[in-house]
Structures are given as C-alpha cells and as structure tokens.
C-alpha cells in the first residue's frame, strides 16, 4: 500500500495519432517498468485490431514506479483511454478514476476535434491538466504557435507546456517530474469502510471476469467479502493485483490506488461499470454517483454467409458480448438472409471492430446489412416505439410522426477546404451552429441527423479535405422530421436487407444512387433485371441491369477439362457467397457498398 501523498493518477488525452500510445510506451520504458527486451510498440494496445489499426479501443491501465528528482518514490497510475468518438463513454468513465491529465498535442499539427472533445471531458472531471507538445523532433514542429492555440481555443494556460519527443525520448523525464509536481495526489480515508469505484470489467478465459477498480476509501484485501451496491450481490475476492502492464498480484490496495480484483464472476454483465464496491457488512452508506450505461446508437443485421454457421455465429456473439456490455444483440430472421442477429453498436467503428473480430477470431464470413440509427415512432394512438430495423416499420397509416436522433458535430479544417466541408454538411441536412477561426483553421459546429453521419460521413470528410479535417460529435437528442421508409426491389422482389429510412426530400437522390450502385454490384444474369427504389407502392427510381450476352469458353479440348472444372469450381464457390433473392444472386458486399454515397 502506498501513502496518498506518493500516488499520482492520470490519463492522457489526445487526438488520434498525436502520440498518446507512443508517449505511454516511453513513460513505461523510462521508469524501467518493462525491461527493454520485453518492450514492444504500443504496449497498452492489446487486441490485434488495436495494433493493426493503431487505435485504442478499451481503456488500459499501467502502474509505474518512479523515483523523482527529490529522491521520493512515487506510484503513478496511467489509464490509457480510447481516442475514437465511438468509445467516448469509456473515456468519460476512466476520467472519473483519476485526478489529472496529460494533454498531448502534436506540435506539427495543433489542436484537433478530438483534442477538444477529450479535453472538455477532462475539464468536466475536474482534472488538473499538463499540456505536452509532442513530436518536437520533426522539422515542422511549431511549439509557440501550438501553445498559443491551446490557450486561445481551449482556454488553459500553456506557458509551462512540456516539449517532448515521444520518439527520441526527449522531454520524457520532464514529463514525469511534472506529473509528480503539478498533478494533485488523490484524497481518501484509510480508516473508513471500503469504497471502490468499478471502472471497467472484462472477461479473461483463465481468471473469469476481471474488475478494474479505483479505491476511494478503505482497503481492498484478498480473501475479503465485498458487496456490489447496485444490485447488492456479494462476492468473495480471490485475487487483488495491479497492472505493470502484466498482471501482478498484491495483498491489498489502499485509498488512491488503482488495480483489479477477481471474484469468480462469470459474466461481464454481472458487473456494472460505475458501481460502488464496499464491505459486505458495515460498508459505506453512500454510493458514488453511477455512470449512465452506454447506449447502442447504430444497429445492423449480421448474417452468416453460410447459413449452416448460424450456431457458430451465436456462439461467437455470446462470447464477444461477455466482454463488451455496450454491444447488444437479438435474433433476427430475414426473408432473404435467413437467420442472423440484429446488433446494436456505439458507432460505426465499433460495428467494424466487432464484425472483424467475428470474421477473424471465429472464422465466420458475414453479411452485414444497412446500418440504421434508432428512430422514435409515435403512433396515432399515442404510443411510442423504438425502430431498430427499417424492415419493422409499421404501416404508415398507423403512424403519427417520426423522430430521429441528432448530433452536434465539431469539425476543424484548414480554411482552403472550408467550402467543401460546409457543402458536405449542408448536403447531409445539417444546420450550422457556429463558425470560428483558430489561426488558419476554421472550427465549424453543425447540428446533423445521426443517420446522415453514421454511414460514410467521416470517409467523405476525409476525402474532400484530403485528410486534413478532424471531426468529433456527440448525441444531442431527438427531433421530428419527414422520414420515410425506402424499399429496394430487385427483379420486382423487395429485398428487406436493403430497405432504409430516409428523409423525404433526399429519397429520390438516395434511391437513384442506390439503384445505380446496385446495377454495378450485381453481376449480369441471363435475363434483364429491373432495380427499383420505392416509397410505399410508389417507384421513385429505377435502373435496368441488362442481360448477360456472352460468357462461354471459346476453346475447350481434352486438356482443358481439368482446367475448366477448376474454373467452374471457383465460380461455384463465388456463387455460394451470394444470396438468392427470387431468381437473382446478390453478392454479399453489395449490402454495405450500395449505401456508400459519392456526394
């Protein structure tokens, strides 16, 4: 146990790629927490997908021992938080477990949209903030300009900003000193009953559920019995430990400390993030303010390409859900795709991560249907229901009106691209709320419908600004609008998996775009295929895929029998990856690709 005065708990906030993970690596290395020979890049990103995409998804924790210049020994607990908007809720709850933040800004780039979003969360959590200007080894580094920007845009003092190169190690020592001198020590009462915050939890195949905790008061000891206050469940603590970043067992954790416990808990669902953990008897009376659980905002159907793999898919989803309480699912049947699951996600990245993991770790090929947001349907009889799947849209005559979720989006962009960004937001039914300048960059704030953003807004933004814009958003609420269900008919048969909700004014445009896309995505058949978009019974767009005219091997002699059989076997395998809608085969990619808009 460490006394409070010698503990510092902090997180690092940064825009993606500004060097958060690299800085964490350097801090770990400089303090000898991990031997040089065990050092691998991006130590805290443990999932393959995190390493590959260079993003942090789950919060990760490491305990660092540091002897400061004043000769005192300190314990530093770092919680590395995700940078992507989809996982903003993880950031906010991790922030509540620590007292300070390093604000990392790439000194060649300056403040970006996620810098803002994340730093505001740190400010909201009452953090002491130490600005760190990273990448000073690069020629384009401009610390003065970026420090000024931090003061102007964020409004915090940047005179003491530390100049760092997480790459060369320059400024790392100064950063460690600054953590000790500038960040406050945690507060807490050793003699009070146990009061610990449940920061996060995940499933481990060997140990069961691992619970990340921050001790506020009292002591957590191996062998004791604890109570989870939200549901009054009792647990016997079989292990207590810390991360370095590998797990290391300790006997107890005291006030201000961050570590983990295991208690033979079988499911992540049995633990509630933000819960208060205390002694089973004579515990604390007052629980901590809970966190509100993260709500899925994007839904889509996941179906196995090979329908015989449905049970395997169920298994995979069950296992993933054990570790990810923010991901929801229920069984779905589609006329065309058979059995699958309707799944809810925090955002599109979250969706992609889960889908990738099912395909890779469980080796199941998937068809992903059009992602949809959650609409509120107000029926004529006054009832309100949530619509997660456009296929479930009730008869319009029974519906009074519909509401859709809106977001507030903040975009920072060099001014030469401003026009393109405004056009994009306008095209997506955005309402401008603010436009200011920070140096040569504009900061635009838009109120946008989530359904216009969910799918490919970020890709489009990157492409119109050549990657120079940064983007962040949060949900603001629901608003009524003129929304309709658009169905897609292929060869006169409705394809439920392609139906979508659209704004009435945008329906023709989207319908036309969908039909054109599908015309390219569906291979030609032996007959011509009409592709139509319709609202109710009314066709609003139409394309015709002409019939296949020629597909025959010109020359085929004795020696070609083997070659031709192999070729046909390959084509047969290709055909298995398609889905039959009436007489038409639709390739699985079509379900997602058809939705991408070019304008």
């Amino acid at each position: 146990m460490t006394d409070l005065a010698h503990i510092r708990n902090f997180s690092i906030v940064a825009h993606i790629d500004h060097g958060k993970s690299t800085l964490a690596d350097r801090l770990i290395q400089e303090t000898g927490t991990v031997k040089d020979r065990d050092m691998k890049e991006q130590l805290l990103d443990s999932m393959d997908i995190e390493r590959e995409r260079g993003i942090t998804i789950k919060a990760n924790t490491v305990r660092i021992d540091y002897t400061a210049d004043n000769g005192e020994h300190y314990v530093l607990n770092l919680i590395d938080t995700p940078g992507h908007v989809d996982f903003a809720y993880e950031v906010s709850r991790s922030m509540r477990a620590v007292e300070g933040s390093l604000l990392v800004v790439d000194s060649t780039q300056g403040v970006e949209a996620q810098t803002l979003a994340n730093v505001y969360q740190a400010i909201e959590a009452d953090h002491e903030i130490v600005p760190v200007l990273n990448k000073i080894d690069l020629p384009a580094s401009d610390c003065d300009r970026v420090a000024e920007q931090i003061e102007d845009v964020i409004g915090i003092d940047a005179t003491d900003a530390i100049q760092v190169s997480a790459k060369t190690g320059q400024g790392i020592h100064a950063t460690l000193e600054s953590i000790v001198t500038h960040l406050p020590a945690p507060k807490g009462n050793l003699d009070a009953p146990l009061k610990a915050m449940l920061v996060d939890s995940w499933y481990d195949a060997y140990l069961g559920v691992i619970v990340l905790v921050r001790i506020m008061d009292g002591t957590l000891k191996r062998g004791m019995r604890v109570k989870f206050m939200s549901n009054n469940t009792l647990h016997h603590v079989d292990r207590v430990g810390v991360f370095r970043p590998e797990m290391e067992m300790v006997d107890s954790l005291g006030p201000g400390e961050i570590g983990f416990l295991t208690a033979s808990i079988k499911q992540v669902r049995d633990t509630r993030v933000g819960d208060t953990i205390t002694n089973d008897r004579n515990g604390t009376e007052v629980a901590l303010d809970g966190f509100k659980p993260a709500q899925p905002v994007v839904f889509c159907g996941l179906f196995p390409v090979d329908s015989s793999e449905f049970e395997d898919l169920r298994d995979a989803i069950d296992k993933l859900a054990l570790n990810d309480a923010s991901f929801s699912f229920e069984m779905e049947t589609s006329a065309a795709l058979g059995f699958g699951f309707r799944c809810g996600f925090l955002g599109l990245l979250h969706l992609e991560v889960i889908r990738d993991r099912i395909e890779r770790e469980y080796d199941i090929e998937l068809i992903t249907t059009a992602p949809s947001v959650v609409y509120h349907i107000f029926m004529r009889d006054g009832a309100m229901t949530e619509l997660h799947n456009p296929a479930d849209m009730p008869d319009m005559t029974l519906v009074d009106h519909l509401e859709e979720p809106r977001i507030k989006a903040t975009i920072l962009v060099p001014d030469e691209y401003l026009g393109d960004v405004l056009k994009l937001c306008q095209d997506r039914r955005g309402i401008q709320e603010d436009l200011t300048y920070a140096g040569t960059r504009a900061m635009v704030v838009y109120d946008l419908p989530l359904n216009e953003v969910v799918f490919d807004f970020y890709d489009r933004l990157k492409s119109v600004t050549k990657g120079y814009a940064s983007f962040d958003y949060h949900m603001t609420g629901y608003r009524e609008d003129n929304l309709v269900k658009m169905s897609i008919l292929v060869n006169d048969e409705p394809v439920d998996a392609l139906s979508m909700m659209v704004h009435r004014d945008r329906a023709e445009m989207r319908g036309r775009a969908m039909c054109e896309k599908l015309k390219d995505l569906i291979p030609r058949h032996m007959f011509k295929i009409p592709i139509q978009a319709a609202i109710g019974g009314k066709v609003i767009a139409r394309e015709t895929l002409s019939a296949l005219r020629k597909d025959v091997t010109a020359k085929c002699y004795g020696g070609d029998a083997t070659r031709k059989r192999k070729l046909l076997d390959k084509q047969k395998a290709g055909k298995k990856k398609m889905r039959q809608f009436g007489k038409v085969d639709i390739p699985q990619e079509a379900f997602i690709s058809a939705l991408k808009m070019d304008g």
Partner: protein, 385 residues
C-alpha cells in the same frame, strides 16, 4: 460390362510442343527451339505408347490427333512412326480419323503429301485471319497469300480439310467479320473452327491487357453479336455449329474432338498432354510433364506421367456436363444421372427452360442458340444445384 467411356470412343492425342515463333495470344504448351532431334522424339513417343498399351489392350482405336504447338514441323517420318506403332498396339476402326494441325506456311505445305503417305487423312490449318494487317497484329508469320496457297495444296492432298479463324480481334467491326467469314465459307471447306479471341493470363496479350495497353478490343455486346452472326451465316452456308466454336457440313465433324465432348477415353502423350483413361472400371485424369526436356527425361526413366488422378463420380458428372453441353447434341440425362447419383435440380432446370436457355428433347438436354453464348452461366446454375 461396358464402361462409360465407350459411349464416347477411344482416341490418341500426340502433342508436339514446338513452334517457329510464339504468338502473343497463345497459352498453349508451345516452345521455340532451333535444334530438335526428331529421332529422340520418335523414341520417346513410342516408349509412351508401349508403356500405356497393356492397360488399354483390346480396345478399338477411333482417332489419332497430332496437336501442338506446330505439328507441321514434324518430319513425315516421325508422324509415320507414331501411326505405325499405334496401329500395332490397337485394332483400328474402319473409319480411323488421323488429323494433323498445320500452320499455313509454304515450308509446311511442302510436307503435306508426306503426311498423307504416312496415313494422315485430315488437316486442320491455323489460318486465323484473312487479312494481312490482322495477321501481323496477331503476331503470325504467314501471309494471306501463303495461307491460300497452303490451303490449295492441302485440298489436293486430303479429303478433309478444316481451318481455324480467330475473331473479335482488335479494331474488328461486326461487318468486317461477317465479310471475312463469308469469304472463308466460299473456300472449299467442310469444317471451320471459329474462336473468339481470348485474352489469356501469362501471354503477351494478357500482360498488355492488364496494363491497359491492348486497345480496340470489341465490346462484349459486339462480340456477342459477332457470335450470333457467326451461327447464322455458317448455318445458312450448310455448316451449322455442332459445338460452341465448331462448324461442319453434316458428316464432316471432327471425330477426335467429339471424343472429348462426348467424354470418351483418350490417351495423351507428349509434353503437357492430358488424358482420360478408364482402367479396371476407374476413370483417371492423366497429365504429363510440361517442359519438353523434362518430359523426354522422364520418359527415358520410365514414364512421362506427372499426374494420374482417379476421378470421383461427382467430378466425372461435372466433367461430362461441362463437355457435353458444348455440343448441339447435348447431354444424355440418364448417363449424367448415373455419374451424379441424383437428378438435375428440377427447379433450376425449369427456370432455365422458361428463360429459353436450355431445352429437353427426350433423353437429351441441350443449350439453345440463345443459351450457348452464355453456357458458363448455365453450367454454374446447373452445377451449384
């Protein structure tokens, strides 16, 4: 008990792997070599015949086909020795067909009478185009005048002469092609092989195509129109299609190639030759070593075979369907069902019939004139089941 192959017959394929120059579109097993000791080749062919004969004893040989490469580079003596050995191993049918593929150069034409004396009774000439500009663009080393002269010599030596043309060439229009085809039909010919130019991977054309440098190829629509016009024009001249790319006056069809399409047995010798052989009731796919030197060496140490793979009944069903559906005669449903063990998916079948792609005529299933240009799509439907 009769074996299935007997419904297709038994033929011998002899591969000659050398050419004077490599054509840029060609992915056949052909090599350019300046010194070829034909004695070595004769010995190797004969050794392969000796090796295979015991497994195939008692059969009647229906056809021999010298293919390539450019078999018209073979000495007539080489050809004679192979024919003689084959006749020694097997009794032959009364109407034994012996075809040799010839390039239409003047040197080759000089050997035609020698081939006739060796026993060849049918010539298939690779004329490819009837205009000099296109012949050059196809990388051919003969001219139209040479081709016509060679054709006249062939006509005087052989009762049966066929030639090959390639269409859908660069910058060729539909009317260019129909005019050229009509000209070809005016020559005294009883069999024509008319191939749409196929861009094959690993050829010079394939590389240029991949780099976007092979310009002027007709659009799919034009190529489809060319195919349909070809069917009509040939039929109206008395040479209807009996296979996807082959047209003949009734009775003049290539018997050897029909062994492939009717899924008979054939022994393939020479580098890269494939075979289908039924031995003790089991059908095998055979394949010899591809590189000429390697093949000769392998033969000298006992066997030219690189592969001899037993075919499952499912594989045989697929092969039989793929091959027989190319014929205007079509597929024998009962024979197919015997291989596959289950009937053709009746739902798929009736869909294809409704679309006018296939028709069923008693015991036979065949692609219609509408269906044949999209035969691969039909096969995909029927085979996925």
């Amino acid at each position: 008990m009769t074996d299935d192959w007997q419904q297709g017959g038994f033929g011998l394929y002899v591969h000659w792997p050398f050419c004077q120059a490599k054509c840029p579109y060609c992915d056949f097993n052909s090599h350019v070599s300046s010194q070829i000791d034909q004695k070595i080749w004769v010995a190797a062919y004969l050794s392969e015949l000796d090796r295979n004969a015991p497994d195939l004893s008692g059969r009647v040989l229906n056809t021999i086909f010298f293919g390539g490469g450019t078999p018209s580079l073979m000495e007539p003596e080489t050809v004679a020795a192979v024919i003689e050995a084959a006749r020694k191993h097997w009794p032959v049918s009364n109407d034994l067909e012996i075809t040799l593929e010839a390039n239409p150069g003047s040197v080759e034409a000089g050997r035609f009478s020698g081939y006739r004396d060796a026993g060849v009774n049918r010539i298939s000439m690779g004329i490819q185009a009837l205009n000099d500009n296109d012949l050059r663009r196809l990388g051919r080393i003969h001219s139209v005048a040479e081709a016509r002269a060679a054709f006249d010599i062939a006509r005087s030596c052989f009762d049966r002469v066929s030639f090959d043309l390639i269409y859908a060439r660069q910058d060729q229009t539909l009317s260019d092609w129909t005019a050229e085809l009509t000209e070809a039909l005016s020559m005294a010919v009883d069999h024509l092989s008319l191939y749409q130019l196929t861009i094959e991977d690993g050829t010079a054309f394939g590389d240029r195509y991949a780099r976007g440098k092979l310009r002027g190829l007709p659009e799919d629509e034009t190529a489809a129109d060319m195919y349909l016009s070809t069917q009509e024009i040939c039929a109206s001249h008395g040479l209807p299609a009996y296979e996807v790319s082959n047209h003949a006056r009734p009775g003049s069809e290539s018997r050897h190639n029909q062994i492939y399409w009717r899924y008979g047995d054939y022994l393939g010798i020479g580098p890269g030759a494939h075979g289908r052989l039924t031995i003790n009731g089991q059908r095998y796919a055979t394949e010899t070593f591809r590189m000429p030197g390697e093949w000769v060496k392998a033969v000298n140490s006992g066997s030219g075979d690189a592969l001899r793979t037993p075919l499952s009944t499912t594989e045989q069903a697929e092969e039989y369907m793929m091959m027989s559906m190319r014929l205007s005669q079509g597929l024998d449903i009962e024979r197919y069902t015997k291989f596959s063990g289950s009937p053709i998916n009746s739902h798929k079948l009736s869909q294809l019939v409704d679309l006018g792609m296939v028709e069923q005529d008693g015991a036979m299933l065949r692609a219609t004139t509408t269906g044949r240009p999209v035969l691969n799509a039909i096969l995909r439907e029927l085979m996925v089941g």
